[in-house]
């Protein structure tokens, strides 16, 4: 039975690959592939679950594919089925199937018809990896696909400013969530000394001694999981991305932000329940966060005057409650609540355009002018203050901007001098020295290694931050990113004698190809356009769709989306950082966080947004 699981991953993947072979106007073929693969998936899921229930709903676990193996590191795909999987799989399959049928007509003659179905299938592929995952690595792979498909669907109307801006906004938060998950992975490697499966987590004997002996590390692990889950599920203070993510076609908003993607944070909590349920602190944190979110977001819901944002906040409110349910251990209730909420919000989003006709008609017959109740001035004042605060979404958006992104900008500007030619020469020389250090490792005192690696990691971060704020020349930013990655690898290599050539090669293989394609496409673009400014969104995809495609592929490879070997490389890098190496883990983490933001920002700024060529109709910025 375990062996059947892989087909649930393969069906959407095959669909995705197959749908690539048809031209955009061949709508029949594209939609046929989509709904038939989804239909097949739904049918198989149903059969599988029925069979599974008849079998007495056993917990299934199977180790599928080992990517990499050495003495104490093993990276493998692992699949797992229990009632949580069953609910999420069935719900996902049903909702995606329905929405694909809906979209078949809804998207008719959209210039992005093919792109839409491609992306939905890729999303569904990632979703299935996530919900069938048996360990954090596998979950992470699914998570990454969700992030990138989210980005692509929010920026679906890429010739307008707001979708692109909001896609980047969502992506940066998602990325923060991903990084937390990587850190959780990293810590779990060190705590469990293996790539632990969810199955093994169920055994209290593995957990309890760890909680006692490594309380600090353990709390770190839990915090990372909670942050990651609350970002994905838009909990306070990460809520403001959700209403802004409703930029794509209504149907994709329904699937992603009404129904499936936004409930995946809950999935993560349910999956990792064994890790945190024995820790009181975690429970209090989750309940507190859930309750607070529910209250705050229900207030924000009340003041929303647009349909989709209202649905978004209403959904977050319920998800807050589900956080509480999960922490209290009412998992069946939580699963039922998830299913109900997902279906309801999906439906509400799909019919959201009807609201105008229905409500106006209703008002026509039932309108009663609102009476202002006279209350004491203090109550009024408090009410008004809450009203105004809710209008400002409790300042979440500006808080995140200030707390999370402004520091990067600030330090980026401080390190910007690194992008000067002379600095780059010096950096190159330093790098060679570093390489020598690495090669003659045995002849060099350990202390030098110890200190130099932090210096190298630091330079890596400084470089990536400089790339982050580079606005004049995309090619220069791209080069800074490449050098930063070299430094980053070297820093880990210097420190850790076990980090060997093969591992470096695995990481570098994907990255270097990506770097090369990136340089190539950028140079071609430079030749055609004369400059590569990234000070605004330039929408060059209008004139250079092919370059845009290849540059996107390069970007995705660069951020180690799980289709290049670099993905394993990242995992290996982190495995080689010991848990006491705070500086190194800090710098490396920042590096990976900023890397994705920088790379995709370059892509977005160069290729997306309203075209600057005013030779054809372009969108107003505010539209």
């Amino acid at each position: 039975m375990e062996n059947l699981i892989q087909f649930f991953i393969l069906i959407p993947l095959i669909g995705f690959l197959a749908s690539f072979f048809f031209a955009n106007h061949n709508e029949k073929a594209i939609s046929f592939i989509s709904y038939s693969s989804l239909g097949l998936h739904l049918f198989c899921t149903l059969l599988f679950i029925i069979y599974w229930i008849i079998q007495g709903s056993p917990t299934l676990d199977s180790k599928h594919f080992v990517f990499y193996k050495e003495k104490n590191i093993e990276i493998f795909l692992d699949f797992y089925v229990d009632k949580t999987t069953a609910v999420f799989a069935l719900l996902g399959s049903l909702i995606t199937f329905l929405v694909v049928i809906f979209s078949k007509y809804y998207l008719h003659r959209d210039s992005g018809y093919k792109r839409f179905f491609n992306t939905i299938l890729l999303f569904f592929f990632g979703y299935n990896i996530a919900v069938f995952s048996g360990n954090l690595e596998t979950l992470f792979i699914g998570w990454e696909f969700l992030g990138i498909t989210s980005f692509l669907l929010i920026a679906f109307y890429r010739d307008r400013y707001l979708p692109v801006k909001n896609a980047l906004k969502t992506l940066s938060l998602y990325r923060l969530g991903d990084i937390c998950l990587i850190l959780a992975l990293w810590m779990s490697h060190h705590l469990f000394h293996e790539n632990i499966t969810f199955l093994k987590l169920n055994n209290l004997n593995t957990i309890l001694p760890l909680v006692q002996n490594h309380y600090g590390s353990y709390v770190f692990l839990i915090c990372m999981i909670i942050i990651s889950a609350s970002i994905k599920s838009a909990q306070f203070p990460f809520s403001s991305w959700l209403p802004r993510a409703m930029e794509g076609p209504t149907t994709s908003s329904a699937v992603f932000y009404g129904a499936l993607a936004v409930h995946l944070g809950l999935f993560l909590l349910l999956r990792t329940y064994p890790i945190w349920h024995t820790v009181l602190f975690a429970k209090i944190l989750i309940i507190g966060m859930g309750l607070f979110t529910a209250i705050v977001c229900s207030l924000i819901t009340k003041v929303q005057s647009t349909v989709k944002t209202q649905i978004a906040y209403a959904s977050i409110t319920q998800i807050g409650l589900i956080f509480v349910e999960i922490a209290l251990g009412f998992h069946i209730l939580a699963l039922a609540h998830i299913s109900g909420n997902a279906l309801l919000r999906m439906y509400q989003l799909l019919v959201s355009p009807s609201v105008l006709g229905y409500m106006i008609h209703d008002q026509f017959f039932n309108f009663v002018p609102k009476k202002v109740k006279i209350k004491s001035s203090l109550v009024t004042k408090i009410n008004n203050s809450v009203y105004l605060l809710s209008m400002k979404e409790w300042n979440m958006d500006s808080f995140l901007k200030k707390a999370l992104w402004n520091p990067f900008k600030f330090f980026g500007n401080k390190f910007y001098f690194l992008s000067k030619k002379i600095s780059l020469y010096i950096l190159a020389i330093v790098f060679v020295v570093g390489l020598l250090l690495f090669y003659f490792d045995d002849h060099i005192p350990h202390e030098i290694d110890e200190k130099s690696h932090i210096a190298f990691a630091f330079v890596g971060v400084a470089l990536i931050l400089a790339a982050f704020v580079e606005r004049k020349n995309a090619l220069r930013a791209w080069s800074l990113i490449i050098i930063s990655q070299l430094y980053s690898i070297l820093s880990v290599a210097l420190l850790n004698d076990e980090y060997e050539h093969t591992e470096i090669l695995i990481y570098a293989s994907g990255i270097s190809l990506a770097a090369f394609i990136g340089v190539f496409t950028l140079r071609k673009l430079l030749k055609a356009e004369g400059n590569l400014e990234v000070n605004d969104f330039y929408g060059k995809i209008y004139t250079h769709p092919k370059l845009a495609f290849w540059f996107l592929i390069a970007c995705l490879a660069f951020v180690s989306l799980p289709f290049t070997p670099s993905f394993i490389g990242i995992d290996l890098i982190f495995s080689h950082i010991e848990k006491e190496e705070y500086f190194l883990i800090f710098f490396t983490t920042i590096n990976f966080l900023v890397l994705e933001l920088t790379v995709l920002r370059i892509y977005a700024r160069l290729f997306l947004g309203p075209s600057k060529k005013l030779t054809h109709p372009t969108a107003n910025r505010s539209s």
Partner: protein, 845 residues
């Protein structure tokens, strides 16, 4: 630029003139998107608007060239236009230009140039910070019923409410104390704030234009609501002045935070002269080329069509068909969507006769449905009626849809909803996907008025007044209206025993723009009440008596029946049929079948443009599919509205009978024989410019620039406050038509064809400057057909000049089924593909 003193009132007036005037979406009234430029010649206007605001004025050059390549633009027409415009000696030069020369089409528009300096100098994106918050406040203030917690104050206008909230709250709209103080300053004004923000007075006007056109959707909405507060059911007081002051405050606030307390005004920071946005523009060769192309694009169709019509007239015997017994007559709206329906009816019953007139049938009034709290205006938008028609005796209860309760959005009830509505939602979606049907959440044209209810049509006591409106019409008033309509369409004798008065409306699901599909002559609503009221008037014995005295004799046996045609579902409903006498009742049953058969054919004709329907399938199956799409949630094109409209023909039905017009023509019946001097013609033509021209130009501009003048694709639209749509949460309102409505449309100006002597037509259009403007400024083409000689005259620069069609192959068809089934389907919605869906003019053989 002449330095003038800054004048706030003048500025606000100017702004309102140029901002979009689209009202809240519940009433969709088509109008010329560039109405502000209508006092100029068409081409001067569009190129000027383009230079100022960055609109795309025509199709891009490449698209025209592509249209030429695929044969849609005729070579001979191009040559003729070049010859006429540029002279034979320059023909080769211009021909080469239009076909091959490379032009820089980059359009550096004037708007936005000043305000962009904030970003250029400080890397500060003011709009990014100010706009989302501003829009949210505006939409909460104007909100009609989405939010659960409303803006706390709204009695004394927008700015006063903001002040009141600010005063009675522990927190603030603003981040800085300085701006808070500014808000409460007594002499706060646009000028005083601009002095802080911009400094030099000569930049003020430009700055405000930049700012307000940065979100023309919202500014337009505010300006519209200011002037017509009753376009919102829950009325709100707001003014453009308030909006600008509040926005300026937010800008000063942001700048203070970002640049420090003592930031310098903009004019001190820049080194550029103020720009007069409206100064004359330079004429370019590219403009000339585009003009030639646009004319060639238009005349390639017009010429063929005119040749077809001329041929059609000449093929017919000169005398009118012998006066055989008429089986029935039917009056329709002039709407081009009824053009095909009428043709099919006439083909199915050779003794039937149809007429066209504006779909409010000359009766203008407000309508109050039973239990309604508001009135619906049922006549063309510019008319202000003095009458009220009330509905009573409605027994049927209105149905509700529980899914639209705000309870699902609240914390506790939302919890319960997840377990109840959640599962139900899944079931409902499955049902609508596989078996769509009508539900309370779908806009239903037939629900506008209750079929069983009664109406207060006759006024028996002139003191019967409600809110200043007279309830019902007096006999005299009825007679005047009935007479005027019949005179206009030339129906003054030969009445059949049943005359149907067929209004139209449109049902659609999940469609915020549903109003745009209803009857334009009824202010974007179904015309059912008008049809019913008119029929009742014409049936009234006292009315007939007066009419007979005036010489209009309606036979005793003739009865009028009101009806409503749903142009999306292709369904029809008849009203008050119980009044029919026995003979007519029997005949009505037969005619009902004729109507049904015509609707089948109409559905089939429409289906060829819908990719999801197989036109070759059985005709009942096609009809069912057409009906289904009007109630399908997933269908963004329940019907195509006025897409492809390009003609308006005023004259005898005989001139178009037998011509396959592909649903592209407004048809207004008019008989020159009964109006040799053109007394009625002025009235007939008066509304055509503003109604048909307005529709046509809104489609034109939404088609050529769907980004700025249209609403963009419907798919991401988010309903704001029940009065507009925006993209996502932070976007500007999007006036104009969505992409799904205009993709089939060829952007051609309307051609109005009048069957009367040129001098009479000229007299008619010159009777009012507002009417004349449409034609003299070339926003609408005008042709007269001399009823005697059948010669064509084209109106150009104030004169009618003879027009000779170029020799053409005329297409003939024998079987309408074959014609429809073999029509091409567009490959993509690019204009060069989309236009190929249109069929040329065919004559019935």
């Amino acid at each position: 630029m002449i330095k003038t003193e800054f004048n706030e009132a003048h500025l606000l007036h100017q702004l309102k003139h140029y901002l979009p005037t689209q009202t809240p979406l519940k009433d969709f009234i088509h109008h010329n998107s560039l109405h502000a430029f209508q006092n100029m010649k068409f081409y001067d206007a569009i190129f000027k608007a383009s230079k100022i605001f960055g609109y795309q004025p025509t199709l891009p050059l490449d698209d025209f060239r592509e249209l030429h390549k695929v044969g849609r633009i005729d070579e001979k027409i191009i040559d003729r236009i070049i010859r006429e415009k540029k002279g034979i000696e320059n023909a080769a030069f211009w021909k080469a230009n239009i076909l091959h020369k490379k032009y820089d089409e980059h359009n550096e528009h004037r708007i936005g140039k000043l305000r962009s300096n904030w970003k250029n100098i400080f890397q500060l994106d003011l709009d990014n910070i100010v706009q989302p918050f501003l829009f949210r406040i505006l939409s909460s203030y104007l909100d009609q019923g989405i939010s659960i917690w409303n803006f706390p104050y709204n009695d004394n206008g927008f700015l006063a409410s903001v002040k009141e909230l600010e005063l009675n709250s522990f927190n603030s709209f603003f981040k800085t104390q300085k701006v808070k103080q500014l808000l409460f300053k007594k002499d706060i004004s646009i000028t005083s704030l601009l002095q802080i923000l911009v400094g030099d007075e000569s930049f003020f006007e430009q700055y405000i234009f930049d700012q307000q056109f940065g979100h023309r959707g919202w500014s337009g909405m505010v300006a519209t609501v200011e002037d017509k507060p009753d376009t919102l059911l829950d009325t709100k007081i707001i003014s453009l002045n308030d909006l600008i002051i509040f926005e300026l405050l937010l800008e000063i606030d942001t700048l203070t935070v970002e640049l420090g307390n003592k930031f310098k005004p903009l004019s001190n920071l820049i080194n550029q002269a103020p720009l007069n946005l409206f100064s004359n523009i330079e004429n370019t060769e590219l403009q000339e080329v585009l003009k030639i192309w646009q004319n060639a694009f238009e005349w390639s169709y017009y010429d063929e069509m005119l040749a077809g019509i001329q041929q059609n007239i000449s093929l017919k015997p000169l005398q009118k068909s012998t006066k055989s017994e008429k089986s029935f007559q039917a009056l329709f709206c002039i709407d081009e969507r009824e053009c095909s329906f009428r043709t099919h009816l006439e083909n199915l019953d050779k003794n039937a006769e149809t007429f066209g007139c504006p779909g409010f049938f000359g009766v203008e009034f407000y309508f109050k449905a039973e239990h309604a709290k508001f009135y619906d205006k049922l006549c063309p938008a510019p008319v202000t009626p003095k009458y009220l028609i009330k509905e009573f005796d409605v027994s049927e209860k209105r149905k509700h849809d529980l899914f639209y309760t705000d309870k699902t959005h609240q914390i506790a009830t939302g919890f319960l909803s997840a377990f109840t509505f959640g599962i139900w939602a899944g079931y409902r979606l499955i049902k609508n996907l596989f078996k769509p049907e009508m539900s309370p959440a779908i806009s239903d044209a037939f629900a506008h008025m209750n079929e069983q209810g009664k109406l207060t049509i006759e006024n028996k006591n002139i003191s019967d007044i409600e809110n200043g409106l007279q309830i019902g019409f007096t006999i005299e008033e009825m007679a005047n209206r009935v007479q005027a309509l019949f005179n206009g369409i030339g129906l003054i004798n030969d009445f059949a025993s049943i005359v149907y008065i067929v209004a139209h409306g449109s049902s659609s699901a999940n469609n915020p723009h549903h109003g745009a599909h209803d009857c334009g002559a009824c202010s974007g609503r179904p015309g059912s009440v008008n049809a019913r009221v008119f029929a009742a008037m014409a049936n009234h014995l006292m009315v007939r008596k007066i009419l007979a005295e005036r010489g209009l004799i309606i036979p005793k046996d003739t009865q009028f029946v009101g009806a409503l045609h749903d142009t999306a579902a292709d369904e029809i409903e008849y009203y008050d049929t119980e009044i029919l006498n026995e003979k007519n009742a029997k005949a009505h049953i037969v005619h009902t079948q004729t109507f049904e058969n015509a609707l089948d054919l109409n559905a089939k004709e429409r289906s060829r443009r819908f990719a999801s329907i197989n036109t070759k399938a059985g005709i009942k199956k096609v009809r069912k599919a057409i009906k289904d799409r009007s109630v399908s949630l997933f269908e963004p094109r329940p019907e195509l509205g006025h897409g492809t409209n390009t003609l308006c023909i005023v004259g005898n039905r005989e001139i178009t009978k037998g011509v396959f017009l592909d649903r592209r023509s407004f048809l207004n019946s008019y008989n020159f024989e009964t109006d040799i001097e053109g007394k009625f013609l002025t009235n007939v033509m008066a509304p055509l410019g503003i109604v048909c021209g307005g529709i046509n130009l809104e489609y034109y501009f939404s088609r050529v620039d769907n980004y700025k003048l249209g609403a963009g694709t419907k798919l991401p639209h988010n309903v704001v406050g029940l009065f507009g749509v925006a993209n996502s949460s932070d976007g500007d309102l999007r006036p104009g038509l969505p992409w799904q409505m205009i993709e089939v449309h060829d952007p051609l100006r309307l051609m109005l064809i009048v069957e009367h002597y040129p001098e009479i037509v000229l007299k008619a259009i010159q009777s009012s400057p507002a009417m004349y403007e449409w034609y003299i400024n070339e926003w609408v083409h005008l042709v007269s057909i001399n009823p005697n000689t059948k010669e064509l005259f084209y109106f150009k620069e104030g004169k009618f000049i003879p027009y000779k069609t170029l020799a053409k192959e005329i297409h003939f068809y024998k079987d309408v089924h074959t014609l429809l089934e073999n029509a091409r389907e567009m490959k993509t919605n690019h204009i060069s593909h989309a236009t190929q869906e249109n069929l040329p003019v065919y004559l019935y053989k």
